[in-house]
Symmetry: C2
Subunit: 229 residues, 2 copies
Protein backbone atom coordinates (compact mmCIF):
# COMPACT_ATOMS: atom_id res chain seq x y z
CA UNK A 1 0.00 0.00 0.00
CA UNK A 2 1.33 3.43 -0.96
CA UNK A 3 0.30 6.49 1.05
CA UNK A 4 0.28 10.12 -0.08
CA UNK A 5 0.35 12.68 2.73
CA UNK A 6 -0.88 15.99 1.32
CA UNK A 7 0.11 18.66 3.81
CA UNK A 8 -1.25 22.21 3.80
CA UNK A 9 0.23 24.76 6.18
CA UNK A 10 1.18 28.35 5.31
CA UNK A 11 4.05 28.37 7.85
CA UNK A 12 5.21 24.80 8.30
CA UNK A 13 8.66 25.82 9.59
CA UNK A 14 7.05 27.68 12.46
CA UNK A 15 4.75 24.82 13.42
CA UNK A 16 6.07 22.52 16.14
CA UNK A 17 3.35 19.96 15.50
CA UNK A 18 3.96 19.81 11.75
CA UNK A 19 7.71 19.49 12.31
CA UNK A 20 7.07 16.66 14.77
CA UNK A 21 4.81 14.87 12.28
CA UNK A 22 7.35 15.32 9.51
CA UNK A 23 10.06 13.76 11.67
CA UNK A 24 7.64 10.99 12.64
CA UNK A 25 7.04 9.85 9.07
CA UNK A 26 7.72 6.15 8.51
CA UNK A 27 11.06 5.72 6.74
CA UNK A 28 9.71 3.73 3.86
CA UNK A 29 9.42 4.39 0.18
CA UNK A 30 5.72 3.69 0.42
CA UNK A 31 4.93 7.02 2.10
CA UNK A 32 5.14 10.27 0.11
CA UNK A 33 5.22 13.58 1.98
CA UNK A 34 3.81 16.38 -0.19
CA UNK A 35 3.65 19.93 1.19
CA UNK A 36 1.47 22.06 -1.10
CA UNK A 37 2.65 25.52 -0.06
CA UNK A 38 6.29 24.46 -0.60
CA UNK A 39 5.54 22.96 -4.03
CA UNK A 40 3.48 25.91 -5.23
CA UNK A 41 4.71 29.11 -3.55
CA UNK A 42 3.10 31.21 -6.30
CA UNK A 43 -0.23 29.44 -5.82
CA UNK A 44 -0.30 27.93 -9.30
CA UNK A 45 -1.02 24.22 -8.94
CA UNK A 46 0.25 21.70 -11.50
CA UNK A 47 -3.01 19.84 -11.89
CA UNK A 48 -1.65 17.01 -14.07
CA UNK A 49 1.22 16.35 -11.65
CA UNK A 50 -1.20 16.25 -8.71
CA UNK A 51 -3.53 13.86 -10.48
CA UNK A 52 -0.56 11.63 -11.34
CA UNK A 53 0.50 11.58 -7.68
CA UNK A 54 -3.01 10.62 -6.63
CA UNK A 55 -3.15 7.78 -9.13
CA UNK A 56 0.17 6.41 -7.83
CA UNK A 57 -1.06 6.02 -4.24
CA UNK A 58 -3.66 3.86 -2.50
CA UNK A 59 -4.25 5.96 0.60
CA UNK A 60 -4.70 9.73 0.46
CA UNK A 61 -4.19 11.78 3.63
CA UNK A 62 -5.04 15.46 4.10
CA UNK A 63 -2.86 16.83 6.90
CA UNK A 64 -3.43 20.40 8.11
CA UNK A 65 -4.08 22.70 11.05
CA UNK A 66 -7.78 23.28 11.80
CA UNK A 67 -8.42 26.84 10.57
CA UNK A 68 -12.01 27.99 11.02
CA UNK A 69 -13.19 24.39 11.30
CA UNK A 70 -11.68 23.42 7.97
CA UNK A 71 -8.41 23.34 6.04
CA UNK A 72 -6.16 26.25 5.05
CA UNK A 73 -7.13 27.93 1.76
CA UNK A 74 -4.34 26.25 -0.24
CA UNK A 75 -5.83 22.79 0.31
CA UNK A 76 -9.28 24.10 -0.63
CA UNK A 77 -7.82 25.48 -3.87
CA UNK A 78 -6.20 22.10 -4.47
CA UNK A 79 -9.56 20.35 -4.05
CA UNK A 80 -11.32 22.76 -6.39
CA UNK A 81 -8.69 22.55 -9.13
CA UNK A 82 -7.38 18.97 -8.95
CA UNK A 83 -10.56 16.99 -8.26
CA UNK A 84 -12.14 17.67 -11.63
CA UNK A 85 -15.20 15.92 -12.95
CA UNK A 86 -13.34 14.00 -15.64
CA UNK A 87 -10.81 12.82 -13.05
CA UNK A 88 -12.53 12.25 -9.73
CA UNK A 89 -16.29 11.96 -10.17
CA UNK A 90 -19.05 11.69 -12.71
CA UNK A 91 -19.37 9.01 -15.34
CA UNK A 92 -15.73 9.02 -16.43
CA UNK A 93 -13.96 10.24 -13.30
CA UNK A 94 -13.15 7.16 -11.27
CA UNK A 95 -9.46 7.72 -10.57
CA UNK A 96 -9.90 7.77 -6.78
CA UNK A 97 -12.54 5.05 -6.41
CA UNK A 98 -11.52 2.30 -3.99
CA UNK A 99 -8.70 4.26 -2.34
CA UNK A 100 -8.83 5.07 1.37
CA UNK A 101 -8.88 8.64 2.62
CA UNK A 102 -7.81 10.00 5.99
CA UNK A 103 -7.55 13.32 7.82
CA UNK A 104 -4.72 14.26 10.18
CA UNK A 105 -5.84 17.50 11.79
CA UNK A 106 -3.95 19.56 14.37
CA UNK A 107 -6.32 21.41 16.68
CA UNK A 108 -5.37 24.04 19.25
CA UNK A 109 -8.31 23.62 21.62
CA UNK A 110 -9.26 20.80 23.97
CA UNK A 111 -11.21 17.91 22.45
CA UNK A 112 -13.90 18.32 25.12
CA UNK A 113 -14.78 21.79 23.77
CA UNK A 114 -15.91 20.13 20.56
CA UNK A 115 -19.36 19.03 21.66
CA UNK A 116 -22.76 20.54 22.38
CA UNK A 117 -22.29 22.90 25.30
CA UNK A 118 -18.54 23.16 24.70
CA UNK A 119 -16.96 26.40 23.54
CA UNK A 120 -16.70 25.18 19.96
CA UNK A 121 -20.24 23.80 20.04
CA UNK A 122 -19.87 21.02 17.47
CA UNK A 123 -18.07 17.70 17.42
CA UNK A 124 -14.84 17.37 15.48
CA UNK A 125 -16.44 14.47 13.64
CA UNK A 126 -19.42 16.55 12.48
CA UNK A 127 -17.18 19.42 11.39
CA UNK A 128 -15.42 17.05 8.99
CA UNK A 129 -18.69 16.36 7.12
CA UNK A 130 -17.59 18.28 4.00
CA UNK A 131 -14.58 15.93 3.75
CA UNK A 132 -16.78 12.89 4.32
CA UNK A 133 -19.06 14.12 1.55
CA UNK A 134 -16.02 14.55 -0.70
CA UNK A 135 -14.79 11.00 -0.02
CA UNK A 136 -18.32 9.73 -0.66
CA UNK A 137 -18.51 11.62 -3.97
CA UNK A 138 -15.24 10.23 -5.36
CA UNK A 139 -15.72 6.71 -3.99
CA UNK A 140 -12.97 6.74 -1.37
CA UNK A 141 -13.31 4.92 1.96
CA UNK A 142 -13.34 7.52 4.75
CA UNK A 143 -11.08 6.58 7.67
CA UNK A 144 -11.72 7.76 11.22
CA UNK A 145 -9.99 11.15 11.34
CA UNK A 146 -6.87 11.45 13.46
CA UNK A 147 -7.45 14.62 15.48
CA UNK A 148 -4.37 15.89 17.32
CA UNK A 149 -5.64 18.14 20.10
CA UNK A 150 -3.42 20.57 22.02
CA UNK A 151 -0.09 19.30 20.75
CA UNK A 152 1.56 22.23 22.53
CA UNK A 153 0.70 20.71 25.92
CA UNK A 154 1.68 17.11 25.15
CA UNK A 155 4.42 15.58 27.30
CA UNK A 156 7.05 13.26 25.90
CA UNK A 157 5.02 10.11 26.57
CA UNK A 158 1.95 11.53 24.78
CA UNK A 159 4.11 12.56 21.83
CA UNK A 160 5.58 9.07 21.54
CA UNK A 161 2.10 7.57 21.56
CA UNK A 162 1.08 10.07 18.88
CA UNK A 163 4.06 9.02 16.78
CA UNK A 164 2.91 5.42 16.92
CA UNK A 165 -0.72 6.27 16.13
CA UNK A 166 0.40 8.50 13.27
CA UNK A 167 2.65 5.89 11.68
CA UNK A 168 -0.06 3.26 12.01
CA UNK A 169 -2.63 5.64 10.52
CA UNK A 170 -0.46 6.07 7.44
CA UNK A 171 0.56 2.50 6.77
CA UNK A 172 -1.93 -0.02 8.21
CA UNK A 173 -4.49 -1.34 5.76
CA UNK A 174 -6.99 -1.57 8.65
CA UNK A 175 -6.09 1.14 11.16
CA UNK A 176 -8.30 -0.44 13.84
CA UNK A 177 -7.10 -4.02 13.47
CA UNK A 178 -5.54 -5.32 16.66
CA UNK A 179 -3.68 -7.93 14.67
CA UNK A 180 -2.20 -5.38 12.26
CA UNK A 181 -1.16 -3.07 15.06
CA UNK A 182 0.50 -6.01 16.84
CA UNK A 183 2.43 -6.96 13.72
CA UNK A 184 3.43 -3.34 13.17
CA UNK A 185 4.82 -3.09 16.68
CA UNK A 186 6.67 -6.38 16.41
CA UNK A 187 8.36 -5.10 13.27
CA UNK A 188 9.17 -1.78 14.96
CA UNK A 189 10.70 -3.69 17.87
CA UNK A 190 12.67 -5.95 15.58
CA UNK A 191 14.07 -2.92 13.75
CA UNK A 192 15.14 -1.25 16.98
CA UNK A 193 18.85 -1.51 17.64
CA UNK A 194 19.17 -1.65 21.42
CA UNK A 195 22.75 -0.32 21.35
CA UNK A 196 21.76 2.86 19.52
CA UNK A 197 18.50 3.56 21.35
CA UNK A 198 17.93 7.34 21.43
CA UNK A 199 16.55 8.81 24.61
CA UNK A 200 12.84 8.23 25.05
CA UNK A 201 12.56 5.51 22.48
CA UNK A 202 12.29 2.85 25.15
CA UNK A 203 8.68 4.00 25.23
CA UNK A 204 7.95 2.18 22.02
CA UNK A 205 8.94 -1.03 23.77
CA UNK A 206 6.55 -0.28 26.62
CA UNK A 207 3.76 0.43 24.12
CA UNK A 208 4.54 -2.83 22.37
CA UNK A 209 4.24 -4.76 25.60
CA UNK A 210 0.83 -3.22 26.37
CA UNK A 211 -0.36 -3.89 22.85
CA UNK A 212 0.74 -7.47 22.90
CA UNK A 213 -0.81 -8.20 26.30
CA UNK A 214 -4.09 -6.69 25.04
CA UNK A 215 -3.96 -8.99 22.03
CA UNK A 216 -3.08 -11.91 24.27
CA UNK A 217 -6.16 -11.29 26.46
CA UNK A 218 -8.40 -11.32 23.41
CA UNK A 219 -6.80 -14.51 22.12
CA UNK A 220 -7.18 -16.15 25.51
CA UNK A 221 -10.89 -15.32 25.53
CA UNK A 222 -11.26 -16.80 22.07
CA UNK A 223 -9.56 -20.01 23.19
CA UNK A 224 -11.87 -20.28 26.20
CA UNK A 225 -14.85 -19.77 23.89
CA UNK A 226 -13.65 -22.46 21.50
CA UNK A 227 -13.07 -24.92 24.31
CA UNK A 228 -16.61 -24.33 25.56
CA UNK A 229 -18.21 -25.20 22.22
CA UNK B 1 -29.58 47.84 9.25
CA UNK B 2 -26.57 47.72 6.92
CA UNK B 3 -25.71 44.53 5.06
CA UNK B 4 -22.35 43.46 3.67
CA UNK B 5 -22.51 40.83 0.92
CA UNK B 6 -19.09 39.21 0.68
CA UNK B 7 -19.00 37.33 -2.62
CA UNK B 8 -16.39 34.76 -3.57
CA UNK B 9 -16.35 33.37 -7.09
CA UNK B 10 -13.27 32.88 -9.27
CA UNK B 11 -15.22 33.55 -12.48
CA UNK B 12 -18.16 35.75 -11.60
CA UNK B 13 -18.58 37.05 -15.15
CA UNK B 14 -19.16 33.51 -16.39
CA UNK B 15 -21.70 32.67 -13.70
CA UNK B 16 -25.33 33.21 -14.66
CA UNK B 17 -26.52 32.81 -11.09
CA UNK B 18 -24.02 35.32 -9.67
CA UNK B 19 -24.91 37.82 -12.40
CA UNK B 20 -28.58 37.34 -11.58
CA UNK B 21 -27.97 37.88 -7.86
CA UNK B 22 -25.88 40.97 -8.58
CA UNK B 23 -28.69 42.45 -10.66
CA UNK B 24 -31.18 41.48 -7.95
CA UNK B 25 -29.44 43.49 -5.22
CA UNK B 26 -31.72 45.96 -3.46
CA UNK B 27 -31.04 49.47 -4.74
CA UNK B 28 -30.33 50.97 -1.37
CA UNK B 29 -27.25 52.44 0.21
CA UNK B 30 -27.65 49.98 3.07
CA UNK B 31 -26.40 47.00 1.05
CA UNK B 32 -22.72 46.74 0.09
CA UNK B 33 -21.69 44.27 -2.62
CA UNK B 34 -18.10 43.15 -2.10
CA UNK B 35 -16.52 40.69 -4.54
CA UNK B 36 -13.25 39.39 -3.08
CA UNK B 37 -11.61 38.08 -6.25
CA UNK B 38 -12.24 41.44 -7.97
CA UNK B 39 -10.83 43.43 -5.04
CA UNK B 40 -7.77 41.26 -4.61
CA UNK B 41 -6.76 39.77 -7.98
CA UNK B 42 -3.24 39.13 -6.69
CA UNK B 43 -4.59 37.32 -3.63
CA UNK B 44 -3.21 39.83 -1.12
CA UNK B 45 -6.04 40.82 1.20
CA UNK B 46 -6.13 44.25 2.85
CA UNK B 47 -6.96 43.00 6.33
CA UNK B 48 -7.53 46.42 7.91
CA UNK B 49 -9.90 47.47 5.13
CA UNK B 50 -11.85 44.23 5.49
CA UNK B 51 -12.15 44.61 9.24
CA UNK B 52 -13.33 48.20 8.75
CA UNK B 53 -16.01 47.02 6.32
CA UNK B 54 -17.18 44.39 8.79
CA UNK B 55 -17.45 46.96 11.59
CA UNK B 56 -19.56 49.23 9.38
CA UNK B 57 -22.25 46.60 8.76
CA UNK B 58 -24.81 44.81 10.91
CA UNK B 59 -25.47 41.77 8.75
CA UNK B 60 -22.65 39.81 7.11
CA UNK B 61 -23.45 37.53 4.16
CA UNK B 62 -21.12 34.99 2.57
CA UNK B 63 -22.26 34.40 -1.02
CA UNK B 64 -20.54 31.73 -3.08
CA UNK B 65 -20.92 28.65 -5.26
CA UNK B 66 -20.77 25.35 -3.33
CA UNK B 67 -17.33 23.93 -4.21
CA UNK B 68 -16.58 20.60 -2.53
CA UNK B 69 -19.23 21.25 0.10
CA UNK B 70 -17.71 24.57 1.15
CA UNK B 71 -16.64 27.96 -0.21
CA UNK B 72 -14.04 28.75 -2.87
CA UNK B 73 -10.47 29.06 -1.55
CA UNK B 74 -10.47 32.86 -1.65
CA UNK B 75 -13.20 33.11 0.99
CA UNK B 76 -11.37 30.56 3.14
CA UNK B 77 -8.22 32.69 2.90
CA UNK B 78 -10.31 35.72 3.85
CA UNK B 79 -11.61 33.91 6.96
CA UNK B 80 -8.13 32.81 8.00
CA UNK B 81 -6.55 36.24 7.56
CA UNK B 82 -9.31 38.71 8.46
CA UNK B 83 -10.97 36.99 11.43
CA UNK B 84 -8.02 37.36 13.78
CA UNK B 85 -8.13 36.69 17.49
CA UNK B 86 -7.74 40.35 18.48
CA UNK B 87 -10.55 41.28 16.11
CA UNK B 88 -13.18 38.54 16.05
CA UNK B 89 -12.83 36.23 19.06
CA UNK B 90 -11.02 35.76 22.32
CA UNK B 91 -11.08 38.17 25.25
CA UNK B 92 -10.57 41.35 23.19
CA UNK B 93 -11.99 40.35 19.83
CA UNK B 94 -15.66 41.25 19.94
CA UNK B 95 -16.02 43.24 16.72
CA UNK B 96 -18.61 40.88 15.22
CA UNK B 97 -20.61 40.06 18.34
CA UNK B 98 -24.33 40.74 17.97
CA UNK B 99 -24.31 40.97 14.17
CA UNK B 100 -26.30 38.51 12.09
CA UNK B 101 -24.64 36.17 9.60
CA UNK B 102 -26.12 34.52 6.53
CA UNK B 103 -25.07 32.20 3.70
CA UNK B 104 -26.25 32.51 0.11
CA UNK B 105 -25.00 29.36 -1.60
CA UNK B 106 -25.47 28.40 -5.24
CA UNK B 107 -25.62 24.63 -5.67
CA UNK B 108 -25.60 22.73 -8.94
CA UNK B 109 -27.37 19.59 -7.79
CA UNK B 110 -30.94 18.94 -6.71
CA UNK B 111 -31.80 19.67 -3.09
CA UNK B 112 -33.19 16.14 -2.69
CA UNK B 113 -29.72 14.66 -3.29
CA UNK B 114 -28.55 16.34 -0.08
CA UNK B 115 -29.87 13.79 2.41
CA UNK B 116 -29.07 10.30 3.63
CA UNK B 117 -29.48 8.00 0.66
CA UNK B 118 -29.13 10.86 -1.81
CA UNK B 119 -26.13 11.11 -4.11
CA UNK B 120 -24.49 13.77 -1.96
CA UNK B 121 -25.30 11.85 1.21
CA UNK B 122 -25.49 14.75 3.67
CA UNK B 123 -27.95 17.58 4.20
CA UNK B 124 -27.04 21.06 3.03
CA UNK B 125 -27.68 22.25 6.58
CA UNK B 126 -25.19 19.80 8.10
CA UNK B 127 -22.55 20.64 5.50
CA UNK B 128 -22.67 24.27 6.67
CA UNK B 129 -21.62 23.26 10.21
CA UNK B 130 -18.15 24.84 9.89
CA UNK B 131 -19.85 28.18 9.17
CA UNK B 132 -22.26 27.70 12.06
CA UNK B 133 -19.29 27.02 14.31
CA UNK B 134 -17.61 30.18 13.02
CA UNK B 135 -20.70 32.31 13.73
CA UNK B 136 -20.90 30.73 17.18
CA UNK B 137 -17.23 31.50 17.86
CA UNK B 138 -17.48 35.18 16.98
CA UNK B 139 -20.91 35.74 18.54
CA UNK B 140 -22.92 36.27 15.37
CA UNK B 141 -26.51 35.08 15.00
CA UNK B 142 -26.62 32.38 12.32
CA UNK B 143 -29.48 32.85 9.86
CA UNK B 144 -31.09 29.96 8.01
CA UNK B 145 -28.89 29.58 4.92
CA UNK B 146 -30.38 30.52 1.57
CA UNK B 147 -29.51 27.57 -0.67
CA UNK B 148 -30.12 28.20 -4.37
CA UNK B 149 -30.37 24.78 -6.00
CA UNK B 150 -30.15 24.22 -9.75
CA UNK B 151 -30.41 27.84 -10.80
CA UNK B 152 -29.69 26.72 -14.36
CA UNK B 153 -33.08 24.98 -14.55
CA UNK B 154 -35.17 27.75 -12.96
CA UNK B 155 -37.95 29.24 -15.06
CA UNK B 156 -38.78 32.92 -15.02
CA UNK B 157 -41.35 32.57 -12.22
CA UNK B 158 -38.89 30.69 -9.99
CA UNK B 159 -36.24 33.35 -10.65
CA UNK B 160 -38.62 36.12 -9.69
CA UNK B 161 -39.44 34.34 -6.45
CA UNK B 162 -35.72 33.89 -5.81
CA UNK B 163 -35.22 37.63 -6.35
CA UNK B 164 -37.79 38.38 -3.66
CA UNK B 165 -36.38 35.83 -1.21
CA UNK B 166 -32.86 37.15 -1.84
CA UNK B 167 -33.75 40.79 -1.25
CA UNK B 168 -35.67 39.89 1.90
CA UNK B 169 -32.75 37.76 3.12
CA UNK B 170 -30.43 40.75 2.81
CA UNK B 171 -32.57 43.46 4.34
CA UNK B 172 -35.21 42.08 6.74
CA UNK B 173 -34.25 42.17 10.41
CA UNK B 174 -36.24 38.95 10.90
CA UNK B 175 -36.14 37.01 7.64
CA UNK B 176 -38.98 34.71 8.78
CA UNK B 177 -41.34 37.39 10.04
CA UNK B 178 -44.62 37.38 8.14
CA UNK B 179 -45.22 40.96 9.18
CA UNK B 180 -41.84 42.16 7.91
CA UNK B 181 -42.23 40.32 4.63
CA UNK B 182 -45.69 41.87 4.20
CA UNK B 183 -44.34 45.36 4.84
CA UNK B 184 -41.43 44.75 2.46
CA UNK B 185 -43.82 43.71 -0.31
CA UNK B 186 -46.13 46.67 0.31
CA UNK B 187 -43.15 48.99 -0.08
CA UNK B 188 -42.03 47.18 -3.21
CA UNK B 189 -45.54 47.53 -4.62
CA UNK B 190 -45.71 51.20 -3.69
CA UNK B 191 -42.41 51.81 -5.47
CA UNK B 192 -43.59 50.10 -8.62
CA UNK B 193 -44.59 52.50 -11.38
CA UNK B 194 -47.35 50.75 -13.28
CA UNK B 195 -46.70 52.74 -16.46
CA UNK B 196 -43.06 51.64 -16.65
CA UNK B 197 -43.56 48.00 -15.63
CA UNK B 198 -40.89 45.87 -17.35
CA UNK B 199 -41.97 42.50 -18.68
CA UNK B 200 -42.33 39.85 -15.98
CA UNK B 201 -42.39 42.26 -13.09
CA UNK B 202 -46.12 41.82 -12.67
CA UNK B 203 -45.04 38.68 -10.82
CA UNK B 204 -44.05 40.73 -7.80
CA UNK B 205 -47.63 41.91 -7.57
CA UNK B 206 -48.88 38.32 -7.66
CA UNK B 207 -46.41 37.36 -4.92
CA UNK B 208 -47.59 40.32 -2.88
CA UNK B 209 -51.16 39.20 -3.14
CA UNK B 210 -50.30 35.67 -1.97
CA UNK B 211 -48.24 37.04 0.87
CA UNK B 212 -50.95 39.37 2.03
CA UNK B 213 -53.66 36.72 1.90
CA UNK B 214 -51.43 34.40 3.95
CA UNK B 215 -51.02 37.16 6.52
CA UNK B 216 -54.74 37.82 6.43
CA UNK B 217 -55.51 34.16 7.20
CA UNK B 218 -53.23 34.23 10.22
CA UNK B 219 -54.79 37.48 11.44
CA UNK B 220 -58.28 36.04 11.00
CA UNK B 221 -57.32 33.03 13.11
CA UNK B 222 -56.01 35.33 15.81
CA UNK B 223 -59.25 37.30 15.80
CA UNK B 224 -61.28 34.10 16.15
CA UNK B 225 -59.07 33.03 19.04
CA UNK B 226 -59.47 36.36 20.80
CA UNK B 227 -63.25 36.30 20.36
CA UNK B 228 -63.33 32.83 21.93
CA UNK B 229 -61.54 33.95 25.09
Amino acid sequence: MRTLVIVSHPDIQGSGSQQFLKESLPTTNDVTFHHLEACYPDGVIDIRAEQRLLREHDRIIFQFPFYWYSSPAMLKQWQDEVLTESFAFGSYGKALAGKSFGLVVVIGNRESEYQAGGREGYSFSSLTLPFQAMANKVGMQFLKPLGIFQFQYMDEAAKQQLLIRYQQYLVLADIDSLKEREEWLMQALAATSLTTLPEGSEFIIQAAIEQISQARLELDELHLYLEGM
